[in-house]
């Protein structure tokens, strides 16, 4: 709820501006942001952004998915419940999903989570859906920057608790669905005690 002492912003023509009064941004606030990234696009775009030496905020922590279509409502909710300040899904460009419609399903689920968050009094802007191709390293960096700025403006997640790792909670909620970031060593190499 807006503080009653805060005046509603008014435009020059005297009409109320449909915008909540902005909270002051805490310059020391470094948000924790979980990104559910599709293996075929956003994850590769992140690699490319790295290869291109592009700068983007270190606030984002990625979880690789085989497709954003794997993402369910509960995965996003669990990340928020565990204290993530923001969560977004990054899937393929619409019409270019490797599994045809996974990214479209993901968008619907993200929108549903926005409704659920509004219902419990959390800003729906803390979750978002983005689309990009594997060739868009610059877009990956731009989205990461834009979303981080958005969350910095919103401030910390009001249900954040000390000692809870939102990234770990989100991975756990996914169970076996998250793809390992590094391939596990094969049994043969493990037994021999050395890799490759």
């Amino acid at each position: 709820m807006a503080d009653t002492d805060v005046k509603t912003p008014v435009a020059e023509d005297g009409e109320a501006v449909d915008e909540a009064p902005k909270k002051p941004i805490d310059p020391d606030f470094e948000p924790e942001i979980i990104v559910f990234a599709c293996h075929y696009c956003a994850y590769a775009a992140a690699d490319l952004a790295g290869s291109m030496r592009l700068q983007y905020p270190s606030n984002i922590r990625m979880i690789k998915l085989p497709c954003t279509g794997k993402l369910e409502v509960i995965h996003l909710l669990k990340a928020i419940e565990a204290g993530a300040d923001g969560v977004y899904a990054a899937g393929c460009l619409e019409g270019e999903c490797h599994y045809l419609k996974g990214n479209l399903w993901a968008r619907k689920r993200v929108n549903h989570v926005k409704d659920l968050l509004a219902e419990v009094g959390i800003e729906p802007e803390r979750v978002e859906m983005y689309n990009m191709s594997s060739a868009q390293g610059a877009e990956f960096a731009r989205v990461a920057t834009e979303f981080t700025e958005r969350i910095k403006a919103l401030g910390p997640n009001p249900v954040k608790r000390a000692g809870v790792d939102a990234h770990a909670a989100a991975r756990e909620a996914l169970g076996g669905a998250a793809m390992p970031d590094d391939p596990a060593p094969s049994a043969a190499t493990s037994e021999e005690g050395h890799a490759e």
Binding site: I74, L77, K78, E81, E119, G121, P158, V159, R161
Partner: protein, 227 residues
Amino acid sequence: MITAERKPLDEILELVGDKKKVLVAGCDTCVAICLTGGEKEAEILAAELRIKAEQDGREVEVEHTAAIRQCEWEYLDMIADKVEQADVVLSMACGIGIQSLAEKFAPKLVMPAVNTNMLGMPQEHAVWLERCVACGECRIGLTGGICPVVRCSKSLMNGPCGGSHDGLCEVTGPEKEEIECAWALIWERLKAQGREELMFTDRPPKDWSKSSSGGPRKMVREEAKPV
């Protein structure tokens, strides 16, 4: 199948009141199929309640579980431990499941988290249409397989009223969507079956005492009762 819709969160919070240990109990049969009250949805509601409690600074423990079928005693045994530990159980099953849970664990506080709304047919993914009201005396053998009790806005049993125009009912649905006139559909179906004469045959009045108007119903199959 039986369909249900989740209640608004404010209503659910009111039902929970100041109870500290809350169990959200889903049912993995009908309400799971209609994407309202299965284990997945129970987990989502539990997460929402925890986030809301944290937001409001209330200390509440919220867990979730699901019975394969909440309307059968045996399946309720499987969730008994969790139910016993809760101060209040929010059931996401249909009205039958909620009452079974409340009866089995009486006087445990069991509250409905959903509104059971109809016996619906999944017309397409995520869309259900009412097709039966369990009136206890099925007449669709005379009406081309189309139920006038549920599909005619007035539940007329002997042909259309004056509100039927171009196959549509004068009444519109909750979202202002058009409703097809059941009796126009019946006429077309009977014509296609070559059974138009059924429109003009005398039918005995329907016995509504076999519906819910006749008090709570009971069915016993003697031949199937355990010996």
